[in-house]
Amino acid sequence: MSEFLRGVGRMVTADRVIDARGSFCPGPLMEMIRAIKTAEVGQVVEVLTSDSGSRTDIPKWAEKAGQELVEVVSRDGGDAILVRKVK
């Protein structure tokens, strides 16, 4: 479980965290898609990534796929990107 503050005093908890730092193949976006596929509606998946392209790739995919981008934050020398499965 991973927790951090989002906005002012709001806490978002990831139901599943995937450390995809250093992953070139299948890569952070594919890890996100894979995890969202098996998640329950309402659950939040967090992918840790060291790939700067993920900051645009994952939000772009989430929008296209109709899933909710919860947050993108810098953490542990990379980015933590959280997506909630909404359908």
Binding site: R16, I18, D19, A20, R21, G22, S23, F24, C25, P26, G27, P28, L29, M30, E31, I33, R34, A35, K37, T38, A39, G53, D57, K60, W61, K64, A65
Partner: protein
Amino acid sequence: MPKRLLVVGSGTAGLMVANLVARALESQIQHHEVEVTVLGERDDYIYQPGFLYVAFDLMDPRSLVRPVRDLLHPRVRFVHDRAERVDAASNTVVTQGGVNLPYDYLVLAIGSRIRPEDVPGLAQEAHWFYTLEGAEKLREALKGLQGGRVAISVGIPHKCPVAPVEFTLMLDAWARTRGLRDALEITYTYPVARAHTIPAVAAFAEAEFERRAIKVETFFNMESVDTEAHVLHSQEGTDVAFDLLVTVPPHGGDALGGASGLAGAGNWYPTDRQLLQVQGHENIFAVGDTTDLPVSKAGSVAHFESEVVADNLVGLLSEGRRPGHTYAGRAFCFIETSLEEATYISFDFQHPPVVPTPSRSIHFFKQTYNQIHWANLKAVI
């Protein structure tokens, strides 16, 4: 009492770990200080990278299959049975045949399975080259192909992530040699915003696809197949009509995981990315497709992971030495780019892949590797 290593799985990872350990500890096995057992559902081993060639009738399927017993070190015991569940509390694996196999150290190398049934209509309508039977069926379909629309689709997750690019480029080259290319409309679909998950491979593939007049549909995640209208629907709302659909089906882990309580979502095993131990179990290792690691599900990954796990097991079994060898995300994948040329990617967690210019010599090396693999499996080289 000998130290017992039990390897579950008789595929690439399972055979390599067992053979590497047996070769290093021959004397200890001979003196009954160590036992190495492989538990395998299959008693024949199939060289899966050959399926791509079978589809284009470039390889005899019989050349891809060898008995597991012939590939195992003579001092490794082989039990032909399916693992039913792992009882980690008592360090025992229970087989479908009702046999209890106790272990001191366990290696899970149970691979992955295609799951075309996860996409409605896909199993009935699509061809694939991810099983021997599927590759032979696709070969027959291609033999009868006179023209029309060929669509390629990709499920997530899947094994051998460069295979859809390879198949598409080989299909183009194959059709040209048969004078069929002008009669074919080839459409390559892919789940993300570019033609491959690796940016360097995507850039290479997109340039090749454009040069060869192959259509590309990105952001295409399979939703369902209309088996009457022959249309593939995506979750993103786009459709591709086809006369021949070739898919890389989505994959899943082995149900064994679910029954044992060790596996996570998708039946993949939560695995430490450096030591390859199943999380929470220092004496259980996971190797190859079965891990939940963010690395390619590919033969080369199974190979490099096997070396790390085998080195650590040799230390544990012979001296009780704590594991110190670590996996660094190493992978190497050939990419066939036609029937005569190939390129490759080589990378790890620290070094991103680049795509060298395709050449005949790399293709030749790949053809050579197809033979070298058998020696690799036996841990001879």
